[in-house]
């Protein structure tokens, strides 16, 4: 027995609010996930694309002031990041003699297109491995080690438990979606010639929030649901990566047989990646020529979230019922 052992002592200190107990569960998940070296590396580089693209805004403003030759050089650089009708609209706008008359409108399109590229190209690609590393063990290992009894014999509810687990995933996803988006916006503002730009782009931070949530909420619900379906976290990981790989592969196959955009099959909605991308495009007010009706895609994301949560709560309650 240690020499400082005090034996059993009663305790009568103040207790913290019951509404914040989920943060304890979130804290466990966040600390454990952070022990993964690969996750730390991804997190370290998560903000880089946002900053790099921020310098494009600087180039855009220079090109808008510098005339046709500067715009031509910029258009080549821009082609790396933005392709399709948006690129043509932006370049067409910047090379137009009336650029100064509708610069605000052009700038808004450019910034939004850049954000969409950020979310589609780099951040969505980060999301898949990040969630694949964090989420699968979150609930499956609790089921395997029967930790449910230890959690639920405390004064916490199932909602708080799920909230704590979800907060773990959401925090890391905010770091790879919301944070780079905001960094891109702030870099753009700081490198712009005039602070009045904020007045013309005030809605973009709000759109970044919504676009990030569109990315975070369904994926978090889906990942936790998959984790709750098994006691083996590797099976949940396999299912998670399968959803994305199978979805994108199906999209490519179906799209190669489809003709114009209007001929697209609803089966293309099998690809969660493209569904999220198209909804994000709609929310950022770009891709207006290419985007199909966002209604079914939004409904699909809402449905996916609700079904995942329903299964998740049922699975979390299951060990208590026997």
């Amino acid at each position: 027995m240690p020499i400082h052992s005090l034996g059993y002592r009663e305790w009568s200190g103040p207790l913290e609010s019951t509404s914040s107990r989920w943060t304890v569960i979130a804290g466990i998940g966040i600390r454990r996930a952070w022990q993964n070296m690969w996750l730390r590396r991804i997190m370290f580089f998560a903000g880089v694309p946002g900053v790099v693209m921020g310098f494009l805004i600087f180039g855009y403003e220079r090109a808008a002031e510098g005339g046709n030759s500067a715009a031509f050089m910029f258009s080549n650089l821009l082609q790396v990041f933005i392709q399709g009708p948006n690129h043509e609209a932006i370049i067409g706008g910047i090379m137009s003699p009336e650029i100064h008359q509708n610069l605000h409108e052009q700038r808004h399109l450019f910034w939004s297109s850049l954000l969409l590229t950020l979310y589609q190209r780099s951040q969505a690609m980060m999301l898949i491995p990040v969630v694949g590393m964090i989420a699968p063990p979150l609930i499956s290992q609790d089921m395997r080690s029967r930790a449910f009894l230890l959690y639920f014999s405390r004064p916490i509810s199932r909602v708080q438990y799920v909230l704590g687990k979800a907060a773990t995933v959401v925090l890391y996803l905010l770091l790879i979606s919301f944070l780079p988006g905001i960094l891109l916006y702030l870099t753009g503002v700081l490198l712009s010639p005039d602070i009045s730009i904020v007045l013309h782009t005030w809605d973009i931070p709000l759109r970044i929030v919504v676009v990030s949530l569109v990315m975070i909420i369904p994926t978090t619900a889906l990942a936790l649901m998959l984790s709750s379906l098994t006691t083996e976290s590797r099976f949940a990981s396999f299912a998670w990566f399968s959803v994305w790989i199978f979805g994108v592969f199906s999209y490519w196959v179906i799209a190669s047989f489809s003709g114009s955009i209007s001929d697209r099959s609803p089966l293309e909605m099998l690809s969660l990646y493209h569904v999220i991308y198209e909804v994000q495009g709609w929310l950022l007010d770009v891709n207006q020529e290419t985007v199909v009706d966002p209604g079914p895609r939004l409904a699909l994301l809402v449905m996916l979230t609700l079904v995942s949560l329903a299964i998740l709560f049922r699975r979390v309650s299951a060990p208590m019922r026997v």
């Binding site: 400082h4 207790l15 029967r146 959690y151 405390r154 004064p155």
Partner: protein, 310 residues
């Protein structure tokens, strides 16, 4: 005895299976042994008491709180040590206790301090810094016990607290339970199949069978023989001693080479025992009232139909 747990006509069905059948029960202070064969409804009863599952009908109160509507208040004041080998994956022993305390509302620093204090009380040394996956069964058992008391609950529900422990650790665990009940004043419910543990620590016994309470009584009362008798240990010739007892009209039977069972109350038989000892030239080593073993009580209780006495 003030009732800490009051259940009135509580029934719990899992589909067509009735786990608790119109169960009425009062449990008070001290240490209560909750016994019953497998499938008797002990675990279901514990889950209902903690509000983890809802009863199908009936009602009950734990520490004055309604089990249906105030389960969170109950869980804040009750410490539960599950029977299952459950642990929080990826955490060290001390982190498990810290998390358990924080989930009960302790501030983080205070939870850590309290966790160390409780692990000292549980006799866990530096191994508390190891990951729980590397713990032995006995260490996990101590850890779960620590987690159940870290928030200083008024009522402790311990499900098989000594299973998987070596004899020395088992003794230590029983001592801790005794200390918490006798010196700190905690009410304790010990749910176990190890009857000697119940005999050693419990004040009262509740036996469940088929989802119903078949016995709810003080342990001392329960073990009193319906036909009073004395067990006498002697040194000398048992045959001469028995013969002298029979001459004195005392009904007696040998239990072993050195012990005799003599029927009758202590007041009526004792003088005759000493007289027979003098006459037969044997020495009496001890005289004690015969008691029914808890095993006999248990077997009788689980075999008889519920409420047969009433």
């Amino acid at each position: 005895m003030s009732a800490l747990i009051e259940l009135d006509n509580l029934t719990k069905d899992y589909g067509s299976f009735r786990a608790l059948d119109h169960l009425s029960l009062e449990i008070g202070d001290g240490i209560t042994g909750l016994l019953g064969p497998n499938g008797a409804g002990k675990t279901t009863l514990i889950k209902v008491l903690l509000g983890l599952v809802s009863g199908t009908s009936g009602n009950g109160r734990v520490l004055g709180y309604d089990i249906e509507r105030q389960s969170r208040e109950i869980r804040a004041r009750v410490g539960y040590m599950p029977e299952d080998d459950c642990y929080m994956h990826g955490l060290s022993g001390i982190e498990c206790l810290q998390v358990a305390a924080q989930l009960s509302g302790f501030p983080a620093t205070e939870a850590l301090r309290r966790g160390h204090e409780i692990l000292d009380f549980c006799g866990m040394g530096q191994e508390r810094y190891r990951n729980v996956e590397t713990f032995s069964t006995g260490m996990r058992q101590k850890l779960r016990f620590g987690m159940s008391i870290v928030h200083d609950p008024a009522l402790l529900i311990l499900d098989e607290p000594t299973s998987g422990l070596d004899p020395e650790e088992r003794e230590s665990m029983l001592n801790r339970i005794r200390l918490l009940a006798r010196q700190i004043g905690k009410a304790v419910i010990v749910c176990t199949h190890i009857l000697p543990d119940v005999q050693v620590v419990c004040d009262d016994v509740v036996i469940l069978a088929g989802g119903q309470v078949t016995v709810c009584q003080e342990l001392d009362e329960l073990q009193k023989s319906p036909d009073p008798s004395l067990t006498v240990r002697i040194h000398g010739s048992i045959d001469r001693f028995l013969e002298c007892l029979r001459r004195s009209q005392v009904r007696a039977e040998p239990l072993s080479d050195q012990s005799v069972c003599a029927w009758g109350t202590e007041e009526s038989v004792s003088p005759l025992l000493w007289q027979a000892a003098v006459q037969s030239d044997v020495a009496i080593r001890s005289v004690s009232p015969s008691r029914t073993s808890l095993e006999d009580v248990f077997l009788k209780a689980v075999r008889k139909p519920p409420h047969a006495d009433s």
